[in-house]
Point group: C2
Chain length 452, copies 2
Amino acid sequence: MSILQEISQNVKNIKPLEFNILARQLNLIKKELRRGVRKPFKEVIDVSMGDLHMSGLKPLSFIRQVLAACLYPPLVNSSKLPVDVRQRAQKLLGECVGGSVGSYTHTAGIPEIVHSISEFITRRDGGAPSVPENIYISPGSQWSIMNILKVLVNSESNPRTGVLTPVPSHCTTTSCITSLGGVVVPYYLTEEQGWQLQVAELQRALEFAKGVCNPVALYVINPGNPSGQVQSRKSMQEVIQFVSEKRLFLLADEVYQDLVYGDENEFLSYKRVLAEMGLPLSDTAELASFHSASKGFIGECGLRGGYVEMVNLDSAVMKHIHTMFSTDSCAPVLGQIALDLMTNPPQPGDPSYPLYVTETEHIRKTLAHNVKIVPEVLNSLPGFCCQPVEGGAFAFPRLYLPPKVIQKAKEMELHPDSFYCIRLLEEAGVLVLPGSEYEQKEGTFHISSNKF
Amino acid sequence: MSILQEISQNVKNIKPLEFNILARQLNLIKKELRRGVRKPFKEVIDVSMGDLHMSGLKPLSFIRQVLAACLYPPLVNSSKLPVDVRQRAQKLLGECVGGSVGSYTHTAGIPEIVHSISEFITRRDGGAPSVPENIYISPGSQWSIMNILKVLVNSESNPRTGVLTPVPSHCTTTSCITSLGGVVVPYYLTEEQGWQLQVAELQRALEFAKGVCNPVALYVINPGNPSGQVQSRKSMQEVIQFVSEKRLFLLADEVYQDLVYGDENEFLSYKRVLAEMGLPLSDTAELASFHSASKGFIGECGLRGGYVEMVNLDSAVMKHIHTMFSTDSCAPVLGQIALDLMTNPPQPGDPSYPLYVTETEHIRKTLAHNVKIVPEVLNSLPGFCCQPVEGGAFAFPRLYLPPKVIQKAKEMELHPDSFYCIRLLEEAGVLVLPGSEYEQKEGTFHISSNKF
């Protein structure tokens, strides 16, 4: 009998991933294919993850050349690499302690890189000032979200701390909240209106929460994952008014900011919209904005680099956030460098610029093409209804399943959409994720698929 | 006034780093030196961190060549790189999803790398079997420790969960325990006997703990940090007997396993010693062993790769550990690859082997030399007493401070040894860490310095 009799209820409450069931099946099928077992398909098409390179889109040469030269400095002198690549690598190595990407950095990140991210934010946000001291680099944005939640969620409070989170949304954030002893307060995006976030629904969720927990924060993700919705300035202004009136902390997950499609859609950061709303809001509403090297055109998920910028936080709170970020070592140095390169890409006139433009344009065009056809194709299939896709990595079509399928799934103790995904994998060799992994309105079913 | 009124006591309890005070002073001094301000030194010597590359020791060519080729695959065809480097890079790229180090991997790590780590462990431990399913790769070993502690420490239990931890030890582990709402139960290493771990002291600490909390685990670090002590087989057997009798989970931090000096010292893993103690212990004592790409000869702290191997855990508990490791994305892929290269270095006959041996021998000799002279020099200074150093990255000499210094420090609201470290930095340009950062016996003072 194990020593660990009393495992924390918070840990037990974390929902195991539906993906685990599919991953087991996927491994089985791959093994069978290798053994030569005949199937209706020759290889599995995996569109379950928001991962550009997994989907066959190529890493950007500039990014990889600079990273390789930082890792193996003799390349800084190689005539085979463009001169701006070599200069950039040399500059970055000069910013590493001991001139090596193998050394630890400040726990907040290499100061020069933090500074350069801060300048990027200011440019992006039309001049709204950004302060390097408010930025922390971490091994992916999720790690930053976890650290901020540790400060937000008071594990000893009674009633427990609540965080409003969208349905659907990826389960990593809700798992974090649960593991810290917080309460996930769902608010539903309006599918029929392209997965819009509506303040009336935030209001409803908040009222509902008040009997159950002490809501302190609102988590939004824009562009949406998996919804694919892009918020308008008006919608964001309403959200900011709401959090300000209700005294909620705003967690703005903006990792998909590069992936916005169509001329009528534009990414605006919450920080910018807030700044442009003027006083007194612009000086008081508290928010944290997250970004990542994983989700833009560079798509470097495997390097694990993300950051958070804090806006309007009390210095007494920042002290604790600083301590939280100091309890572990720094973020991976190559992930930090990827953030530097992502936020400061080659400029016109640089030797690497033409290739950089060609490569990013290829990705942009591929995505624009897919974003158009994914809803078209899905809506032409019986039993599917897909909202237009405005941004992000995924489409999240609704699936109308016949009662017999739902019954069969229940008999197998599976979510009906998980049952559908397993059958789709077995019969067509296509791996998508079930809506139940993301939560969805009771009685509705969905699948999520990337558009790469 | 901030929204965040009720910050969790667990977060508030985390002790801010003494290092922060020194870091501020360090930045000031560096700025002054750049401005041309005259000081008794021309540059600061930083020996505060266990970081090979920061200290000027060079990264290993083989490691960096393979990593660079994985990042920038055209190098796989470069005749400038040895053929075994290119083959290895090609093999590793074949194990990455989509052939890119920019893709996500399994949350436990790339299966082939986990497998190769498992084989390394079996070889290292004289054949004691290792199972890949019990191994998880993470962004540094500290992250693994945190995840295991999340399962061990029950934040809702009353009395709270206790974890026995050595004094001195690095503050990251104690911060983890505190942040989870656990109780740090100190046990003191015996300085006068070269910082030995003594079971009688474990016994005392456990008895003491019983009135305060519910002790469930013992954390040991061998080779010691900052103590520099290496445990004998006999000492480890006693610890295993103790945890088994007292039903404690053993957290064995073995990240310094490569750094053992002198012919009479040898690293033995807790898993090996346990296996060789035979039944029934070998089948029942529960432990987790941690290792890292940061602390061996490769010294790749910045890549953030570590792993944990679980031994004898109940499958019901493993399920929760698996869930914990699934709540965030994978470890940095290049950190994973560094682990593969560290645990499977070039072999005799490989083109890279001669250079690999030359480079590791240089590091080995530098360390062996320093390990000999560090205690000699320190013990020749008035007010210092340094135990022999057997392993690890640090020496942790005792510092005898005159009452006037202690009084002065108190007036400045500083720990006396922090006061000493600040003065050493200001007057000699040498950065070491104060013993108060690591905890120490009441009324004693120390500094920690690396030996690179």
